[in-house]
């Protein structure tokens, strides 16, 4: 990529000419600094997205360059906290993509009935909305008492919120619609109590959920699972890191175990496609077969 920059322009403090190679160098140096000083490893995150979020923070701090941001975050832990918030995407919803949950009920639940005990891993569970959705689904299918849900995330702050089981009250109408479209069998409101502006979900739902911190980039597998959910988490990783995490998932699934991805993710672009078969024509549900 050759966008020539005259050396005078960059030396004289004149308006900065955009140089994509230099920008990439600055970003790589910043991420290396963050990793070595703070231990957070964003070095293998998808470039276009991390670039966008770094520039947002540059603007938010009133700075001019990525290198300027590097200087600030290395010397000011509070600036690092702000950057971390920018870099952690925590968009989620209960019964997100209802058709996915409907398909899960129809295609996967019958398979799960054949197991005496079911271990499920929600990798990158964020604030827990999808874990609670799964607990409700399994409860309604009569499987919850023989299931254990392991909900992990890199970020301890979101895990603490997930444990509380309180979600914004103003989203309950949306979640109720999702629940019904997902094939919900009861009344959604029976699962929560409205309290101020929060909906507190029944503590009975958490009885078989284990929350714990886990880093997909650096940590190893911690058990063998029958189902792994990792929806809209891997999209933030580059292809190399995606393949590494797929290797971790592959090693963590029992033979004929189920891998569930987000609706716009695919195993097609990973090295692990040959190890799985598609379980659904429309949803991203795969079964380990090799």
């Amino acid at each position: 990529m050759a966008v020539p920059v005259s050396s005078e322009a960059s030396l004289a403090g004149a308006p900065l000419t955009y140089n994509p190679d230099l920008e990439r160098l600055e970003i790589e140096l910043l991420l290396e600094g963050v990793f070595r000083h703070y231990g957070f490893d964003f070095r293998a995150y998808a470039y276009a997205s991390i670039r966008r979020r770094l520039w947002k923070r540059v603007e938010g701090e009133g700075l001019r360059t990525i290198s300027g941001l590097q200087d600030r975050i290395l010397h000011d832990p509070e600036a690092m906290e702000r950057l971390l918030l920018d870099l952690s995407v925590n968009v989620t919803a209960m019964f997100r993509d209802p058709s996915f949950y409907k398909e899960f009920r129809e295609q996967v639940v019958p398979l799960l009935r054949t197991y005496p005990f079911i271990r499920i891993w929600h990798a990158g569970c964020s604030t827990g909305e999808e874990v609670f959705s799964m607990a409700i689904l399994l409860e309604e299918e009569g499987l919850y008492d023989r299931a254990r849900l392991y909900a992990t995330d890199i970020n301890d702050v979101v895990l603490q919120r997930a444990k509380q089981g309180i979600f914004p009250l103003d989203r309950m109408q949306e979640y109720t619609e999702n629940y019904l479209r997902a094939g919900g069998k009861h009344s959604f409101s029976q699962y929560y109590t409205a309290k101020y502006d929060g909906a507190l979900f029944s503590p009975a739902l958490t009885r078989n959920i284990v929350f714990s911190q886990h880093n997909l980039v650096t940590d190893r597998s911690f058990s063998e699972f029958h189902v792994i959910f990792c929806r809209n988490v891997l999209i933030y990783f580059d292809k190399t890191l995606q393949n590494r995490v797929h290797s971790l998932f592959y090693d963590s699934l029992v033979m004929f175990g189920i891998m569930a991805l987000g609706s716009k993710e695919s195993l097609k672009f990973s090295q692990y496609e040959p190890c799985y078969e598609k379980l659904s024509a429309t949803e991203k549900l795969y079964r380990k077969v090799h």
Partner: protein, 206 residues
Amino acid sequence: MASTREAQAVPGVGYDLVVVGTSWGGLAALRTLVAGLPETFTMAVALVQHRHKDSDHLLRVLLQERSALEVCEVEDKMPVEHGRIYVAPPDYHTLVEPGHFSLSTEAPVRYSRPSIDVTFASAATSYGHRTVGIVLTGANADGSQGLRQISDRGGMAIVQDPRTAESPTMPTAAAKAVARARVMPLDGIVAFLRELPAGVPEREEA
């Protein structure tokens, strides 16, 4: 591959990626645009149309009906291949990396996800002067900033003549933001694209 095209192609010269942004009135405009691209068209074309988050695959199907090229909806890490049309999925941002797409569920940008600006800016970063950005009909100002970045990095900026757009707001804003943009009616854009030199297709390294 036509041998004449290969003979003319010079590495580093020509365009590899066309990114198109539109909102209100976009379906009719996109159907006209894709119908005008011949089977031999060799650039990759990525379409960002604002739409409801629960939209299904209808947009892809309606475009495929009219197109001689293969139309697909973007999935994460899908390769950017020449001679293909890509539709940004609803409720995600579509970002362009060198050789492939990445998706993101970051917050909507000015109420839009997909955001045209996000796709355009990442295309400008990854494909630089090999990018063509096109802003069509629409009822907001999304796309202006991204189109300016494409133009600033040496890419080609094109705006639908607002007088011919079903909704003139978006092309008007884009033409105002990008001084160098070429403004032309839709059939002019199609004819212009057919004449633009395409880059040399290169395969992404695994």
